[in-house]
Symmetry: D4
Subunit: 203 residues, 8 copies
Amino acid sequence: ARLGLPEVVYGPGKTPEQITGVVRSLLRANTGPVLVTRIEQPVASEVCRAVPDAEYDAAARLLVWHRAEPVGFDVAVVSAGTADGGVAAEATGVAGAVGLSVHRISDVGVAGLHRLMAERGPLSGAGAVICIAGMEGALPSVIGGLVACPVIAVPTSVGYGAALDGVTALLAMLSSCAPGVVVVNIDSGFGAAIAAYRMAARR
Amino acid sequence: ARLGLPEVVYGPGKTPEQITGVVRSLLRANTGPVLVTRIEQPVASEVCRAVPDAEYDAAARLLVWHRAEPVGFDVAVVSAGTADGGVAAEATGVAGAVGLSVHRISDVGVAGLHRLMAERGPLSGAGAVICIAGMEGALPSVIGGLVACPVIAVPTSVGYGAALDGVTALLAMLSSCAPGVVVVNIDSGFGAAIAAYRMAARR
Amino acid sequence: ARLGLPEVVYGPGKTPEQITGVVRSLLRANTGPVLVTRIEQPVASEVCRAVPDAEYDAAARLLVWHRAEPVGFDVAVVSAGTADGGVAAEATGVAGAVGLSVHRISDVGVAGLHRLMAERGPLSGAGAVICIAGMEGALPSVIGGLVACPVIAVPTSVGYGAALDGVTALLAMLSSCAPGVVVVNIDSGFGAAIAAYRMAARR
Amino acid sequence: ARLGLPEVVYGPGKTPEQITGVVRSLLRANTGPVLVTRIEQPVASEVCRAVPDAEYDAAARLLVWHRAEPVGFDVAVVSAGTADGGVAAEATGVAGAVGLSVHRISDVGVAGLHRLMAERGPLSGAGAVICIAGMEGALPSVIGGLVACPVIAVPTSVGYGAALDGVTALLAMLSSCAPGVVVVNIDSGFGAAIAAYRMAARR
Amino acid sequence: ARLGLPEVVYGPGKTPEQITGVVRSLLRANTGPVLVTRIEQPVASEVCRAVPDAEYDAAARLLVWHRAEPVGFDVAVVSAGTADGGVAAEATGVAGAVGLSVHRISDVGVAGLHRLMAERGPLSGAGAVICIAGMEGALPSVIGGLVACPVIAVPTSVGYGAALDGVTALLAMLSSCAPGVVVVNIDSGFGAAIAAYRMAARR
Amino acid sequence: ARLGLPEVVYGPGKTPEQITGVVRSLLRANTGPVLVTRIEQPVASEVCRAVPDAEYDAAARLLVWHRAEPVGFDVAVVSAGTADGGVAAEATGVAGAVGLSVHRISDVGVAGLHRLMAERGPLSGAGAVICIAGMEGALPSVIGGLVACPVIAVPTSVGYGAALDGVTALLAMLSSCAPGVVVVNIDSGFGAAIAAYRMAARR
Amino acid sequence: ARLGLPEVVYGPGKTPEQITGVVRSLLRANTGPVLVTRIEQPVASEVCRAVPDAEYDAAARLLVWHRAEPVGFDVAVVSAGTADGGVAAEATGVAGAVGLSVHRISDVGVAGLHRLMAERGPLSGAGAVICIAGMEGALPSVIGGLVACPVIAVPTSVGYGAALDGVTALLAMLSSCAPGVVVVNIDSGFGAAIAAYRMAARR
Amino acid sequence: ARLGLPEVVYGPGKTPEQITGVVRSLLRANTGPVLVTRIEQPVASEVCRAVPDAEYDAAARLLVWHRAEPVGFDVAVVSAGTADGGVAAEATGVAGAVGLSVHRISDVGVAGLHRLMAERGPLSGAGAVICIAGMEGALPSVIGGLVACPVIAVPTSVGYGAALDGVTALLAMLSSCAPGVVVVNIDSGFGAAIAAYRMAARR
Ligand SMILES: Nc1ncnc2c1ncn2[C@@H]1O[C@H](COP(=O)(O)O)[C@@H](O)[C@H]1O
Ligand SMILES: Nc1ncnc2c1ncn2[C@@H]1O[C@H](COP(=O)(O)O)[C@@H](O)[C@H]1O
Ligand SMILES: Nc1ncnc2c1ncn2[C@@H]1O[C@H](COP(=O)(O)O)[C@@H](O)[C@H]1O
Ligand SMILES: Nc1ncnc2c1ncn2[C@@H]1O[C@H](COP(=O)(O)O)[C@@H](O)[C@H]1O
Ligand SMILES: [Mg+2]
Ligand SMILES: [Mg+2]
Ligand SMILES: [Mg+2]
Ligand SMILES: [Mg+2]
Ligand SMILES: [Mg+2]
Ligand SMILES: [Mg+2]
Ligand SMILES: [Mg+2]
Ligand SMILES: [Mg+2]
């Protein structure tokens, strides 16, 4: 909780014992939320047994202790396809854990504009939009033309061939013709949520 | 005119004399249209002096002899930004020269959907849509969701940085979530027009 | 069936229950064909038990309900090597399901021109040619010089080393010296079939 | 000024006449700021003669009409090397034109931490930090660990060899170990400034 | 002339004085051919004035002293397009200078098989075929299926967009489905000619 | 055996039944050698049971029927590291099967020149050298400076990190400062052996 | 031990028998240290049974015989994240085996400068610093500004998406704004340790 | 001169006035050497007029004030081709200016080992070898096997096609089979010299 940012442990490559150790020492030193990201069910179960009071979100692969109080900042988490669901779950879970209020909008790909247009109301009320898309990564360009608030684009590794494991979506989002769209790493729902938290925090 | 396809000379790297020679021999052997693409004004002027009855389109960098009769096939040529104009001019010029009827729609970027939506009428009447976009190359995905006819996507080298001289738009178009979008080479208005001609020709 | 295009579910990353749910709701809302692509045998079997009247094509990894009536449009599906068979099966299966008539030509690699030349008859009768090749991806260039109808090139991930999982074939097809060849994503037999369907549909 | 975002014309590839035309029609339809980016001195001079009351910033290659009133939002624009100056000037110029208050910090490369540490005071007062760096693009990682507000990273094309015209800095910033850093396109001081404006606007 | 290979100076980045110096010392120490490659007209003229008895081939950008006697080995130099002419000229010039007998075949792109088929006679008489092609680089695959002798493929930087300055042709040639095709560097007519010379020399 | 080249079946992606079928029909139509490459032990065993008189080389993953008589052409197969052994075995096995006489030289990496120098005798007697190396791929440059006969370079996928699965060795070999070195695909011992066979055959 | 460098066997792709054979012959011919790198526990156990007196370090995946006497040269091995631990263990293990004295500093990422600053003392006493980092690879730039001794940067494959399996860290380290930083291959703790040994050895 | 490292100004993108200003303030604050790298003749002349006592080395594009006393450390600067001369001049010039003693060895490409072998004496006496090569970048692998001292590899952008402006040499050097070779950025003679200085300084 230095700087007021939450404490977050990156799960991959760590044993349950290592994670348990780090989490315990963070809980001792902090009053704010403590998170572990990208942690699979079996490892999570072991950690939960060792350190009580955790919430585990399997879709998000996320463990949370000491969930924050709502800070009064609304984030829309928008995604294009079913396969982008895991990344959206991570963004939603992390954002909620640090006190943001999340409005989740699914299945609004740019090849079906009518579905996206039906969601313009909720979108325009948001303090920030986290916009998650794989393949051609076009969604942030369209949404960036519909709202004036910050648009945080998250490319996903969904797709095949020319989708290049998310690199195509990443490059497309960085080249967006909608001004002021910002981008985080491929599949980083976590990064997008913390970016939104920074926007909320600095007010 | 073997196969009924037009005779097309690729201009770059040829002297006016070489071009004049090739064009003369093609005109002698053909009754259909003869074209030179990517030919700049000074070279074009010299060739025009040597081989009469040419039409030169400077924006398209295109020379045409023996323009074809209309074949009764409507193509919409749609582009996103002003900078894509040269590629759109080439697509339009070549399509017209081989007998297609072109409807030109400009300035309909995906970050300003209202402008694109205003053109839905003309779009839905087309036999094929040639869809030209640089940067994130999102336009074909949106249009592919609005029309059932063939969508021929042309990535352009417009943009900078992560746009990678058109490679980003190319990859994005190939990864389009709109089913059945087809793609030609970067900046190839010519390729798109001949693709449309193949669609018209095979009826 | 919005726009008259078929409803197609992308199988990867979905549970049998999710697929069953989506397919049921699509069948309720549609009279046209409903497809699931890239679905492996075990998942397909479960879905078939839950939703009756499906046809499963294992080579194509394709599930079909409500196969369309023939629309009177002939497509040649041409491939170079044995290993390209799965992609060709997907193109053939999807094309058939949406009502196109498919003529299948195999084993006509460019290093054995005599075999390809023997198929010139069937090729020249097609309304469109879907041309599937891995490694150097040269087949569409040769076929594009033999027919005047649309040539839809599908690069495959067949090959090793410099074949770069299909990227080399993709780039080669986009750079084809045969005018008007169009390209879809690597291994996307599905995309090629829908592209052909758009050509048939728009008449 | 749709959505409250400023009207911005992208200069490259447009003639002075084209720019003059677009700017005139935007000034007629808007009361907010109108900008032209990436416009060189000679073209700018011609446009200034044709459309009065412009301010030209040569370092930023920026033309501005109808500068906005201050909106009460502080942005720190931080850069590492002298060669990043043009990008920093664009970020500063655009941010100022849309009403943000800019604090400029130069010459604080990560290989000389003492200089950066001396600026911690001004940094911690900012509503957002625009962080500009070429070569290895390490600055946002360090600053992201020093402040809790949004950090907008701008990779620049400064450097040679393995710097790959800014791609290395871009990839490094996206891979930053500082949580919640967001990234815009290479050399896009403009994109960063509008991203900051979106953060200010949505309050 | 160590090993019996010719002495070849690479021209770029050398002053006329430097080239003159190297050539003089090589002529003093050798009885075999001495070549300078990639040398433009003005530099070549200066060198020719300083070192007598040179032959300059402007299309090949090649200077030759002490041309070798014919060694009785026939090479076919085959190219696809007019723009590949410079590379073909270099291959032809170097091969001739080292004593190979060259048969030049032009304009036999794979999209026009009839022209290539008309040349099967001369092709089948060759000791080796140097096969030069840009864009999709398909020519060696077709020729490799027509002849049993060595096929040396030379990719050229001809083309645009997805041709990636010759990288696409290079990768395609390396992935050729014709067995035993070998490849040299992009635009290296020189490398192909020396490879053929090695084949002749080792008999 | 069209053209006198051997019949070679590419094993991957084929069932034992498919391979058996192809091999049987090739043996019926040919008197020359028939090969299957990249075939693993279990599949090979099944094929051997079904089609008698095969020789299987496990290190080379190669099946051979009707081994050719010696044609009187010597090939040196040289490799740098232990890990390049599989590729060298394929080159050796295929070369032997088509009638070339192979001299195998191992463990002569460029960082230990004394070992390479000790092999200069055998090297200088060869009709062609197949030179196999991973990592930095430097071996063909050194050998190309030691012999005047053809040098066929085979990059391997041995190494990690910057070795990029053989792409680095491939690019290095194509950029070799030794004139006239030719290159085949990554890990293609097969391609190198057939290239050598073409050199032998055309005499 | 030619040149005084240690004998090091690269484990991957070798059977326990092959490793045993090589190690035995090296031990017979050498008095200095003999190492096997990247060798997993089960293979290591077998080798240890066959060749007595080995030390195995599981974290480093390293086998050592005949550990060298201390040479009186201090190396700091610094790493940023927990996940870089394996590479740091290899650097530490190899350095120790060849006689260097290692000071290990962990968990000093650039987003938490206070931790790094606390280690300035030990850093400034080192003869060389081995600096290990994944993701954006920024650590060597910061350390290069804090010490005057050699800084050997090791990029790791830690990270995801834009980290590109260590390529981003590699490029960033090569582009470092700290002068005179040198770089070894991705994940090559081995390479860094031998580089440090060369610095110690040449005194 | 913080840390004892020399003060070095990077010339590109700075006006003569800017350079003059920086140099003056550095000379005022330092007693050690002050350098400007990559500065062309005309700019250098202006700066020399403004700030007396500079030495300009045109081949190295280097300006030096306050050359250091010899520190008693010998560096060999080895290069392969004539075209690598500029980078070698920069390495030599910077090394000399900071007090290292340079032994320059030219024209020792790996395709001509006899020339390299003739230089083994001087090489083995060096405290460090700076090894400069373009194209396939093989020189450091060979030299790394000949000497036990540090080998600092500098890839150059010399070459064409597959040489990829120095990226191929860079990757090859990082993948070197000679243990402990370290690498700096493409064309960075400067970086190599400072790396050598760090090695000298820390004794
Ligand atoms: N094999 C396939 N390749 C690419 N896109 C597909 C494929 N199968 C279905 N789709 C598309 O994927 C989308 C459906 O995705 P989903 O909603 O996740 O089932 C639709 O746009 C389909 O057109
Ligand atoms: N066009 C060329 N492409 C590649 N290598 C060349 C070329 N011309 C000459 N060389 C090689 O370059 C080296 C001569 O380089 P240099 O000493 O700089 O003249 C010799 O190895 C030649 O074989
Ligand atoms: N190891 C190999 N690498 C590359 N091509 C091969 C290999 N083995 C066989 N081939 C080629 O693959 C083709 C046979 O493919 P198929 O008909 O699928 O067996 C022929 O062109 C062979 O020359
Ligand atoms: N982990 C490693 N990374 C890179 N090279 C290594 C490694 N371990 C050993 N080597 C080198 O690999 C070569 C030994 O290869 P090998 O003969 O296959 O055991 C020697 O040049 C060693 O210096
Ligand atoms: Mg998407
Ligand atoms: Mg666009
Ligand atoms: Mg193929
Ligand atoms: Mg920087
Ligand atoms: Mg070609
Ligand atoms: Mg090697
Ligand atoms: Mg790190
Ligand atoms: Mg070199």
